[in-house]
């Protein structure tokens, strides 16, 4: 139906025009952020934010890179816990899923229920906070970003379903050759599930990269702020910007308003640039996620 029809009918032109308008509501806001960051503080104060800088200036970037230690720390922290956390998550989650896919595993039912209950009911914010801080002392450590999220019951169930789809004869053949369960998991199952894990991995990575809640609740040590949390601080508190700016500049001269947006670009820019290349894996992940276990 689609191929046989012409592309340039009135209907198609209207439809495309509509979508172009909708898409502009997605692109223009980001251009606005970019444009403000490249404006001079004076122009912003006088004319307000504009889509095209009234007076072009890179002063804001100069100021945030004048004392970039905080930004660099946030990048390092975020990169370490995002990649580390994602790898640990994928490993533990698939490791937990494998035994559940084996029909003759005795604890199969018990484990399924044990995991399933956690999807229904949780401790809630405060009890979780008290356990993580008073009992486990994870606050103000990088582990708080990595450990609590290292296994997700939903993901376990979806990956288990994937493992169940792998012919059992493969396992039987390996067992006949004397392979242990460890070997079957590491040399057969894990390599076979790489494509599925990659989809989940990408979604998890994006989630961790964009995490600000964890810092908000557990971190007071500025060296361990996540990127997004640093960005939130910058939006709400001018003191952080004053620390970054050139020493000796009077508070009035610090271009706080444009610096905020320069920070937004410095934090979100790389992700927005990389994003289109990975988008198809993301859509794939959504589809896998929506097929239930």
């Amino acid at each position: 139906m689609k191929k046989s029809k012409k592309k340039f009918t009135v209907g198609q032109i209207i439809l495309n025009a509509l979508f172009v308008l909708v898409c502009l509501t997605y692109i223009v806001p980001f251009i606005l952020l970019l444009s403000i960051s490249f404006s001079s503080e004076g122009a912003i104060k006088e004319y307000g934010y504009t889509l095209i800088p009234k007076a072009f200036s890179i002063e804001a970037y100069k100021q945030i890179f004048n004392n970039p230690q905080m930004l660099i720390n946030a990048y390092i922290t975020t990169i370490i816990y995002s990649i580390g956390g994602t790898l640990i998550f994928l490993f533990i989650t698939s490791l937990t899923a494998y035994p559940l896919s084996r029909r003759n595993y005795k604890l199969r039912n018990f484990t399924t229920w044990y995991l399933f209950i956690t999807t229904l009911f949780g401790g809630g914010l405060v009890p979780t906070y008290l356990i993580n801080t008073n009992l486990l002392h994870l606050d103000n450590t990088i582990w708080i970003y990595i450990l609590p999220g290292m296994v997700s019951a939903w993901t376990v169930i979806i990956i288990r379903t994937f493992y169940q789809g792998i012919p059992e004869s493969l396992v039987d053949a390996a067992k006949l050759d004397g392979a242990s369960e460890f070997r079957i998991y590491f040399q057969i199952m894990l390599p076979l599930s790489v494509p599925v894990l990659a989809s989940f991995g990408f979604m998890t990575l994006v989630g961790k990269w964009n995490d600000w809640n964890t810092s908000l609740i557990y971190i007071t040590d500025t060296r361990l702020f996540s990127l997004q949390f640093l960005l939130q601080k910058v939006l709400r508190e001018a003191e952080i910007l004053n620390k970054m700016a050139e020493q000796g500049l009077s508070t009035y001269d610090i271009p706080t308003e444009t610096m905020r947006y320069a920070m937004a670009i410095a934090v979100a820019g790389p992700m927005l640039f990389i994003f289109p290349f990975f988008q198809k894996y993301f859509s794939k992940g959504i589809m896998i996620g929506s097929i239930k276990g």
Partner: protein
């Protein structure tokens, strides 16, 4: 005992032993995950006891004094209770329905695009917000709404409307702002599911409808929409399961946690978070427990309904 019997018994014990080893190995493989789930999911459930205690930071979770249902009583006698529960539920319903309507609409429009290339570009652009954090979206909102420099006030001024509204101290505007931003945020992703369902419709149905003289609009209304009905119903019903769980990121970041806006923006999730930050651990935990229990009831109820009408879509 005959030779055959001995062999038989040996074989049986061998199989049993092999099964035991297999089970043990599988158990070991699953162990790290089980331990992690226990520590990070089950321990906090025991931590709920704090909702029945008067929390004392010096004595900690276990040392604090019990006080029965005092925390619950305290919460339900404050005006906050009605406000946050009302806000949470109303926003959830608002988001749930509008997200569905707009996602279906966008999916149908996607489906009618002939150029695959254009479809891909539009789709990619519309899921952009999914890749950025709520913090960056808060920046966008701030750039629009900033009273002195924001875009919105300037454009309102241009068309002759009052241009000095301080949006961050106008609670009445926020249900609109939050709804628009929520839909803007999720519609690209939401449309993908419905679009996939549309792709599964047999083309010959549309062909036949066209031969019978149905126009595009009629084809969508009488063929496409009925095909989506089941999935729409399921999405709505499942959505009702999490009606007591608000969108913390949206409500906390976009409003910049401004107190003046609480009457229209405060939800259970932001309330419990504030309780945590202010040290009102016990009341906050009590509210969290109420939320969890209501959540479980909703999910179980919803699942019961789904099981009745469409068993293959039920969660358990």
């Amino acid at each position: 005992m005959s030779k055959i019997d001995v062999q038989h018994i040996n074989k049986a014990t061998k199989i049993k032993r092999r099964n035991d080893t297999t089970n043990f190995q599988l158990f070991l493989l699953g162990l790290p995950g089980m331990v992690a789930v226990f520590i990070f999911h089950y321990l906090p459930m025991f931590g709920i006891i704090i909702a029945f205690k008067k929390f004392n930071p010096n004595k900690g979770l276990f040392g604090s004094q019990w006080n029965g249902f005092d925390n619950f009583e305290f919460f339900f006698t404050t005006p906050d209770a009605v406000r946050i529960i009302r806000n949470t539920v109303l926003y959830s319903i608002d988001y749930l329905f509008l997200e569905m309507v707009f996602s279906v609409l966008v999916a149908i429009l996607f489906y009618n695009l002939i150029s695959r290339m254009a479809l891909k570009v539009y789709n990619t652009i519309m899921i952009l917000p999914t890749f950025v954090s709520m913090v960056l979206i808060a920046y966008i909102v701030y750039a629009m709404l900033n009273p002195a420099m924001g875009i919105l006030n300037r454009y309102l001024g241009m068309i002759g409307l009052p241009n000095d509204v301080d949006w961050y101290s106008t609670p009445a505007a926020w249900p609109w702002i939050l709804t628009v931003m929520k839909i803007w945020n999720v519609v690209g992703m939401g449309a993908i599911i419905y679009y996939a369902a549309l792709m599964g419709i047999d083309e010959s149905l549309f062909e036949a409808a066209r031969v019978d003289g149905a126009n595009k609009y009629q084809q969508m209304w009488y063929i496409a929409l009925p095909h989506l009905a089941a999935i729409i119903a399921i999405q709505l019903i499942l959505g009702f399961g999490s009606i007591f769980n608000g969108d913390f990121g949206l409500h906390y970041q976009l409003t910049r946690d401004v107190g003046t806006l609480y009457p229209t923006t405060d939800i259970i999730n932001t309330y419990t978070f504030r309780g945590l930050k202010d040290g009102n651990m016990s009341v906050s935990a009590a509210v969290g427990l109420v939320q969890s229990v209501l959540g479980v009831i909703m999910v179980l109820g919803v699942n019961l309904i789904v099981k009745k009408i469409s068993p293959e879509n039920s969660m358990f």
